[in-house]
């Protein structure tokens, strides 16, 4: 409603109009919910995308590391053979050189090319050598490659050191005695006295001081990210109503002007609460996510839904067209998701980025959920993130309602 028409309205009509605001807003909210449910493309945003991404990301995160793929020249002597066998023993996929090795390395289809110096057989006499290791300029596995090569090299050295110690102790031993002793050394090393038992810690346990990894990170992260993306639909609905003239026609109806904004926001917030509930159910049943106390989880979740729906109103206020709004929301959602800890545990980011995250609603949404999921937090602890999220919602609505032009 324009300022002029508001001024022209008699006081009693204005009061009646304001009194009817909640019921009008609720009616519009219900309309908004029905409209969204009737449109499959919006249901994709609301449910399909978060489910697909949570599932795919959870699968990736629980995957074991692949073999380290190394190119090694054909062994020319016993020490080179020993190096190759130790690399295989350490779990490497050892491949012969190929004319395409450099190209495969560039495309990360190989992890390293090892250059063995000609003097490697001199290691028997303790002559030091350097293995040349060519890594991919865009590879992500340099840490694994180097630790695997370091381990294999150490094991080669250990075997050679044992043999040299034997030789040093037996200057007068005959060939038969030495061969027998070498065989014994080798047999002993093949049957180690020390067994290494590797066990994975149980980290996904509800309780105090538990880390956020796997589905516990990806499911809430993707849910919150797509909730914010869906929240931008509030803005698209408002823009579309303006473009198609729906808003102008509403002025002919006895509906208060703010009801359209309130109705759209409330309707979308309701849908977002449904989305979060569906994701909790899906995460628990399919992905094995442990959400903790559901009543407490609902507090930050509902606050986040209100914030996300209000974000749409804010987006509509600061953009002029649907295309601008799409670009704006895509930029904001992706950047705040990355910095706010929805893509990866916030602990892996540098300290300055963690400080920046405190100013983002995405951080408080994720923090609120993880307080309940991973730390077993109580009502007082989740109240802070929920209050901050509601503060963001209020600020977004204030800007949205002031800047959005109904004319």
């Amino acid at each position: 409603m324009s300022r002029q028409s508001r001024e022209a309205m008699p006081e009693n009509e204005l009061a009646a109009s304001l009194l009817s605001m909640p019921s009008a807003a609720l009616a519009l909210a219900w309309l908004q919910v029905r409209q969204v449910i009737a449109q499959p493309r919006l249901l994709v945003f609301l449910l399909v995308l978060p489910i697909v991404f949570s599932t795919v990301l959870s699968l990736f995160q629980s995957t074991q590391l692949g073999q380290v793929r190394v190119v090694l020249p054909a062994a020319s002597g016993p020490v080179a053979q020993l190096l190759e066998s130790e690399l295989r023993r350490a779990g490497a996929d050892v491949r012969a050189p190929d004319p395409r090795s450099a190209t495969l390395l560039a495309r990360n289809e190989l992890d390293a090319i090892v250059r063995v110096p000609t003097g490697i057989e001199g290691l028997v006499k303790g002559k030091p050598v350097n293995l040349g290791i060519l890594l991919s300029p865009t590879g992500s596995r340099s840490g694994e490659v180097l630790s695997l090569l370091r381990a294999a090299a150490t094991r080669v050295e250990a075997r050679l050191a044992a043999q040299r110690a034997l030789l040093a102790q037996q200057p007068s031993a005959n060939a038969e005695q030495l061969a027998e002793a070498r065989q014994r050394t080798s047999t002993l090393l093949e049957q180690p006295a020390i067994t290494v038992d590797v066990v994975e810690a149980e980290t996904h346990r509800t309780g105090k001081d538990v880390a956020a990894t796997g589905a516990n990170q990806t499911t809430p992260g993707m849910t919150l990210m797509f909730a914010l993306l869906f929240g931008a639909q509030t803005g698209l609905s408002l823009h579309r109503a303006r473009v198609t003239g729906t808003i102008a026609r509403l002025f002919a109806a006895p509906v208060p002007p703010g009801a359209l904004l309130a109705g759209t926001v409330v309707g979308n917030a309701f849908l977002l609460v449904l989305q979060l509930a569906a994701m909790v159910l899906f995460g628990a049943l399919v992905l094995g996510v442990r959400w903790g106390n559901l009543a407490l989880l609902a507090i930050p979740a509902v606050a986040y839904a209100c914030m996300a729906a209000s974000f749409g109103a804010f987006s509509a206020a600061v953009t002029r067209t649907q295309q601008q709004l799409t670009s704006f929301s895509f930029l904001v959602v992706n950047v705040t998701a990355a910095v706010g800890g929805l893509w990866w545990p916030i602990e892996v980011t540098p300290p300055w980025m963690q400080s920046l995250a405190y100013g983002l609603p995405t951080y408080w949404g994720m923090h609120g959920l993880q307080l309940v999921m991973l730390r077993g937090a109580g009502l007082l602890e989740v109240a802070l993130p929920a209050a901050i999220l509601l503060g963001f919602a209020g600020a977004f609505l204030a800007v949205g309602s002031r800047a959005f032009t109904f004319e």
């Binding site: 493309r41 697909v52 990736f60 450099a102 990360n108 150490t154 001081d209 670009s327």
Partner: protein
């Protein structure tokens, strides 16, 4: 004349895109911001962070040697603690692994039949760190085994007549092995194939460039869907321009928009962040093929979407899924084997491979023939599909 008309239409559409704030935000600002954020967040340099390791065990030469060995080249940052704290620390994410050395290990090893078990508790969320700790711990224990094997072998060869002589032999052999292993004989000299200073950044610069090329093409095609929705494309039938010329112009605009986005992105990442994309001439060829490939997706969307909202949903679904599977969100080599095979069906995988190949000194276009051919084939097929719809709209 008709080609000139097509060029004019393409140029007009391109200018319109470049003046659009949406295009600048989505295709230039967002990719640069995300590349910088991800490059910073995930390390931004090639040196891996030391693994946080808790070491449990009685103070001895073995445990101090293990701590020193794990700390070599900053592979791990070792904290000595008790077992309960170590296990709780791994659960809490404070430690990425805990190495638990049983009490009396050295005493057990002094017996020829002695056996012992070292336990390594790992955080499933820190697989690379766990891999490093397991590898290095096993290697260090191999050196202990070597000393033990040498002692036993020497004792067998020398066949000492008394306990005193045996003691001397054992001490001497152990000393020999420890002195020998104190200074490593095998050095690891690493070098990279290119001068890119940060692997993660170098990778993500390419990966995000490809992702946003796809997005630019999809949005440019979305603009054409808007024209169809508004009816402006149909009205162009009144103009004295052949339908094929109009179609060619409109499709060329999608390719050009994507190419401009890629050129600006490569230049910006090169000058702002030092990313390397190869020699300018080879990079230009790859950009051209990658633009046609991405425009193929735009053509597909153009062929099926009926409204702006459908463009948005299809764009998000296709771009994000292809990016997830094709290596734009994380390196393909870190994905499971089946997903790596699946990634061959994505635009991102082929485009990333083409850029990776030509970015390495010594490799050129001849090494990237297959990915470039795939990009061209996919692009032309998609453009043909979308072009048929545009042609239909301008002739019916």
């Amino acid at each position: 004349m008709s080609l000139r008309a097509a060029a004019l239409i393409a140029g007009r559409d391109l200018r319109s895109q470049l003046r659009s704030r949406s295009f600048i935000t989505q295709s230039l600002v967002l990719p640069l911001m995300l590349t910088a954020i991800i490059g910073t967040a995930l390390g931004g340099n090639s040196k891996p962070q030391p693994a946080a390791v808790a070491l449990v065990g009685q103070e001895s030469a073995l445990t101090s040697g293990l701590a020193k060995f794990l700390g070599t080249d900053q592979a791990a940052a070792v904290t000595t603690t008790d077992e309960a704290t170590a296990r709780a620390g791994v659960r809490a994410g404070k430690f990425q692994a805990a190495v638990i050395v049983p009490p009396g290990l050295q005493r057990q090893l002094s017996s020829p039949r002695g056996k012992a078990t070292v336990t390594i508790v790992t955080d499933p969320g820190s697989q690379v760190a766990a891999f490093t700790v397991v590898q290095l711990t096993r290697a260090y224990l191999a050196t202990i085994e070597a000393g033990r094997a040498a002692v036993l072998a020497v004792a067998q060869v020398r066949q000492p007549g008394s306990a005193e002589e045996l003691g001397k032999i054992v001490a001497s052999a152990q000393q020999d092995v420890q002195a020998d292993l104190a200074k490593p004989d095998i050095g690891l000299a690493t070098s990279e194939n290119a001068a890119n200073s940060g692997r993660y950044f170098a990778y993500f610069a390419i990966a995000f460039g490809v992702l946003f090329a796809l997005l630019s093409a999809a949005l440019a095609a979305g603009g054409l869907v808007d024209e169809i929705e508004r009816g402006t494309l149909t009205r162009l039938r009144a103009a004295p321009v052949p339908a094929w010329s109009l179609t060619l112009g409109k499709l060329s605009a999608i390719v050009l928009t994507t190419a401009v986005q890629l050129v600006v992105f490569t230049l910006a990442t090169h000058f702002l962040f030092g990313a390397r994309w190869g020699a300018p001439s080879t990079a230009a060829v790859v950009i051209a093929c990658a633009s046609i490939g991405a425009a193929g997706l735009g053509g597909f969307i153009l062929g099926v979407a009926q409204s702006h909202e459908q463009v948005m949903v299809l764009t998000l679904m296709i771009v994000l899924l292809m990016s997830l599977l094709g290596g734009s969100m994380w390196p393909v080599e870190s994905l499971p084997g089946a997903v790596q095979v699946l990634s061959r069906f994505t635009y991102n995988r082929w485009a990333i491979e083409a850029f990776q190949t030509v970015s390495v000194p010594g490799l050129g276009l001849e090494d990237a023939v297959l990915p470039l051919a795939v990009l061209l084939a996919v692009g032309l097929a998609g453009l043909l599909f979308g072009g048929l719809r545009v042609a239909r709209m301008t002739t019916e």
